[in-house]
């Protein structure tokens, strides 16, 4: 039996600077993709001498390579940010339930992301767009603190809007001289857009305060708790539901999550 | 004992009614005969939960740190060692003396439950105070003993059973202070050669499971963020092995050097039976020998031997 806690080595083949504190790393295992995965699933990425942490996989399984978009917040992420192509990391996974891609088939989709919260959504967005026929209209609402904090700008402004049936709206909390788009929080855009809840599922990820207001706005627009999906983050160590710590109530985020419908979340105690 | 219990309940009720204390820390009867754990009384009407017996061992000073953020004053019943613990925390500036009302309880010394168990067994045990000692009744029979025969070792060596620095002291009789050599056990260890000493401590410390009970119960361990809880930098990793355990215990005892009040709570809290008081006593002895006789916690304004700048210090600073 293989020990799930022992990672494999992967090479960093590309590093893309998204924002001043977010970088996207493309990693490749010895035989290409380190392991197969589904959108919304996560992986443990480590530099063994520094540490290991759970990150959502940013790429879509429809792509050839595995990508992680990582924000610099602590010791490990700081060390990861120093990596250059050709260097190695250790990875293990996939972990977590992922987005319910089967359940979403035939539905219109509304993505609401904030900051680095677009990273896990991007995996599902690209998955749906690469399986275009399976999914209905796709609306993407994305917000960041400032224009320089926007991640995946190529896709946001170039690739996604050109695809049939896709609408992208981007907003920033504070604009600058180059910014001509909307200024304000994502909930403002969401209310203006007012997407019809009929046959639509909303998928949201971002800072806790944003999620709080997004959930409130979605409820106001008529979305039921079953029509809202989000993905959570906790301190994790094992990734396999044994080490404790990432539980909310009796659910372990690493195996029972990180993706939950709002209806499922309401069943859990308030320990976010 | 019953008279002291009545007195404590009455006094706590009065002081809370008078507004001199907004809450009170004392001891209540636990689930078993050997337990009298700490309790926080929030209303005068709850004062009947308080008790005083020979198991009120837990040092209450530790709780004052978490009480600091609360409005108003916290009343605390203090034995000799609790009082010294409070004085310590006041001296370190982590507890505001004006937010505390100290009611002293002269301490007769507390019982070591294991010593009682050895004599009369466990289970249905009753301990009755006699004129000249204690009557112990248990499954193995009945025994008449003096308190000293079953007292905790730390109490037998207690130099200050009478609480110091209190706002008031309840009427009662404390045990006679220990006047012998407080470092007898340390001297015994010091007689060993360095290899033997190393082996002794290696065997003891190899048992440490790093549950941190000794640290968390210690009234001198009052850092907001303990060095062993830091992960940036991570000074000591979580592996339990002799080397890490030695680093943990030695650093902790060096850190409380000159501030340890010898309440013995570390040793009592240790589930593994490591003789931690000997480490404490060794450090205490060295401090006293190097910086003059000193006992921590007797005066909230005391000059700490390792925390005082003196231009006339006999050692050079170069």
């Amino acid at each position: 039996m293989t020990n799930e806690l022992i990672p494999q080595i992967a090479k960093v083949v590309a590093v893309r600077k998204e924002t001043p504190d977010v970088k996207t790393f493309t990693v490749r295992g010895e035989k290409g993709l380190p392991f197969s995965y589904m959108p919304g699933q996560c992986a443990m990425v480590s530099l063994p001498s520094v540490g290991e942490a759970m990150f959502s996989i940013t790429s879509s399984p429809t792509q050839a390579d595995m990508e992680f978009s990582i924000k610099r917040v602590g010791l490990l992420t700081e060390a990861l940010h120093k990596l250059t192509p050709g260097q190695t990391v250790a990875v293990r996974g996939p972990y977590g339930n992922g987005f319910p891609v089967e359940m979403l088939k035939g539905k219109d989709l509304l993505f609401i992301g904030g900051g680095i919260g677009l990273a896990p959504l991007r995996s599902l967005i690209n998955y749906c767009l690469d399986n275009r026929a399976d999914y209905g209209k796709v609306d993407i609402i994305y917000g960041a603190r400032s224009p320089q904090d926007l991640v995946f700008t190529d896709e946001l402004f170039e690739r996604w809007p050109k695809i049939e049936g896709v609408q992208v709206q981007t907003t920033v909390d504070v604009g600058d001289e180059t910014w001509t788009g909307p200024v304000g929080v994502v909930t403002k855009l969401l209310e203006e857009l007012n997407p019809d809840p009929q046959g639509r599922i909303a998928i949201t990820c971002g800072p806790p305060i944003m999620i709080k207001f997004v959930l409130r706005t979605l409820a106001k627009l008529g979305y039921t708790d079953d029509q809202i999906i989000t993905t959570l983050e906790k301190r994790m160590k094992c990734g396999i539901g044994k080490c404790g710590r990432c539980n909310i109530g009796g659910k372990y985020i690493c195996v029972d999550g990180p993706v939950f419908t709002l209806a499922q979340l309401r069943e859990l105690p308030d320990e976010l | 004992m019953q008279r002291m219990t009545d007195n404590m309940r009455k006094r706590a009720g009065e002081l809370m009614a008078e507004g001199k204390a907004d809450r009170f820390l004392g001891w209540e009867k636990g689930s078993f005969w050997w337990q009298s754990p700490p309790v926080e009384i929030k209303e005068a009407s709850e004062a009947d939960r308080l008790i005083w017996d020979l198991f009120c061992t837990a040092n209450l000073a530790k709780y004052l740190q978490q009480m600091q953020s609360l409005e108003g004053k916290t009343g605390v019943f203090v034995k000799g060692c609790d009082a010294r613990g409070v004085n310590r925390l006041v001296r370190d500036g982590v507890v505001d003396r004006d937010k505390v009302y100290l009611v002293g309880v002269p301490c007769p010394g507390m019982i070591d439950p294991d010593k009682v168990r050895k004599l009369v067994g466990d289970g249905d045990v009753t301990i009755t105070q006699l004129e000249d000692g204690l009557s112990l009744k248990g499954p193995l029979g009945e025994r008449k003993v003096t308190l000293d025969e079953v007292a905790l070792d730390k109490c037998l060596l207690c130099r200050h059973p009478e609480p110091v620095g209190c706002d008031e002291v309840l009427e009662g009789t404390a045990r006679a202070p220990f006047t012998g050599d407080p470092y007898a056990e340390v001297r015994e260890l010091e007689e060993l050669d360095s290899d033997e000493r190393y082996d002794y401590w290696a065997e003891e410390l190899s048992r440490c499971i790093r549950c941190y009970a000794c640290r968390n119960v210690c009234p001198a361990c009052n850092c907001i963020k303990c060095v062993f809880d830091m992960d940036r930098p991570n000074w000591l990793d979580g592996a339990t092995n002799l080397s890490n355990n030695q680093v943990y215990q030695l650093i902790r005892f060096m850190h409380v050097a000159g501030r340890c009040i010898d309440c013995g709570e570390c040793e009592r809290a240790c589930p593994m039976g490591i003789p931690l008081r000997k480490l404490a006593a060794k450090v205490d002895k060295d401090v006293s020998e190097l910086f003059g006789p000193f006992e921590a916690g007797l005066d909230p304004e005391e000059k700490l031997p390792l925390g005082t700048f003196d231009p006339n210090d006999p050692d050079s600073f170069e």
Partner: protein, 338 residues
């Protein structure tokens, strides 16, 4: 049912092929350590640290690593194949290992290291003649002198030890050892009597009926504030608990070369759930104490279908401020039900 003279136990230990763990006098009590020729300790009641560390060591290396220029090498640390015999563990600790099995060997992932050790371990349970005041195993449906999950159940009849195998591998082992004779009818009836009488010696009671549902409905009850006030947030209760299984994973390295290991961790520690960005979903001891009790009484039943407590009483004995899960359960029944 077979029997062996207690004086012949050293012969038995010597005959067992593998690591033989027995209660060893250690500090102020007993712990499970390797048998090194010593006689059986007649005053053994139970070990301070439960034998879970034999299957789930407090510190366990996972792999070593080294950086070589841009490249990294990772070498897994293998779990030894050796057979282990845990001789003399109590029924509560045997039950606790069955609960750990549910955590480590069931679910979407199996813990490889635990699983391998577990496959190679014999649980040789010594029934309790009588409990101590902190024992409450019967509240969780245990029998003090019999463990249904044991490879062997054993009873101390004074001069002899009577053994009954409980599993196929236990029977095979017993049959392979020539040191035993058949137990007499007298001995068999003594065992029956011992088992029956032991039940009556467990006097502490924890009210389990309906507790899970009650706790599910009272996550924010003020009782949590009340009971957590005196907790000192040390890890004695969790490290000594035979069913606590939380662990951390850490590295130790010098100049890019080192080892990654896992070590026990405690939900009572302040850093346990602290995230890199500074957010802590369980910020104070109220949430931490609640998590510990709920894990035993609510989350374990929800996830594993069993209570996560076996009533061994170690947390009652070793808490420096006498936190008492049985008392909490009684209080919960009283104040939460209202």
């Amino acid at each position: 049912m077979k029997a062996i003279a207690k004086t012949a136990l050293p012969d038995l230990f010597a005959a067992l092929q593998g690591r033989v763990y027995v209660p060893v006098r250690d500090g102020k009590g007993f712990s499970f350590g390797l048998w090194e020729g010593q006689p059986w300790p007649d005053d053994y009641q139970n070990a301070i640290v439960p034998p879970k560390h034999i299957l789930f060591p407090q510190t366990e290396d996972l792999y070593t690593f080294r950086m070589e220029g841009e490249d990294m090498a990772i070498d897994p640390v293998a779990v030894p194949e050796e057979t282990s015999f845990i001789f003399g563990l109590r029924p509560c600790d045997c039950r606790a290992i069955e609960l750990l099995d549910l955590v480590f060997r069931e679910g979407p992932f199996v813990d490889a290291a635990y699983n391998k050790r577990r496959e190679n371990t014999f649980l040789m349970v010594l029934g309790c003649k009588e409990g101590v005041p902190t024992c409450f195993c019967t509240s969780f449906g245990l029998e003090p002198a019999f463990a249904p999950g044991a490879d062997w159940n054993m009873w101390d009849l004074g001069e002899v030890l009577v053994v009954e195998p409980g599993t196929d591998k236990g029977k095979e082992l017993l049959d392979s050892l020539g040191l035993f004779r058949e137990a007499t009818d007298e001995e068999k009836s003594q065992v029956e009597k011992l088992r029956e009488e032991a039940k009556g010696t467990i006097t502490l009671h924890a009210p389990t009926e309906g507790i899970t549902e009650l706790l599910q409905a009272n996550f924010d009850h003020p009782l949590w504030d009340e009971i957590s006030r005196k907790c000192l947030e040390c890890g004695a209760c969790t490290y000594l608990c035979p069913t606590c299984h939380c662990y951390d994973m850490q590295s130790s390295s010098v100049l890019g070369q080192g080892r990654r290991f896992r070590c026990w961790d405690s939900c009572m520690y302040c850093n346990y759930t602290l995230m890199a960005g500074g957010h802590n979903p369980r910020p104070s001891k109220r949430e931490r104490v609640r998590n510990r009790f709920l894990h035993k009484l609510q989350y374990f039943p929800e996830n594993q279908g069993e209570f996560g407590c076996v009533g061994c009483g170690r947390c009652l004995i070793n808490c420096p401020v006498c936190m008492d899960i049985t008392r909490f359960m009684a209080q919960a029944k009283e104040v939460m039900a209202k």
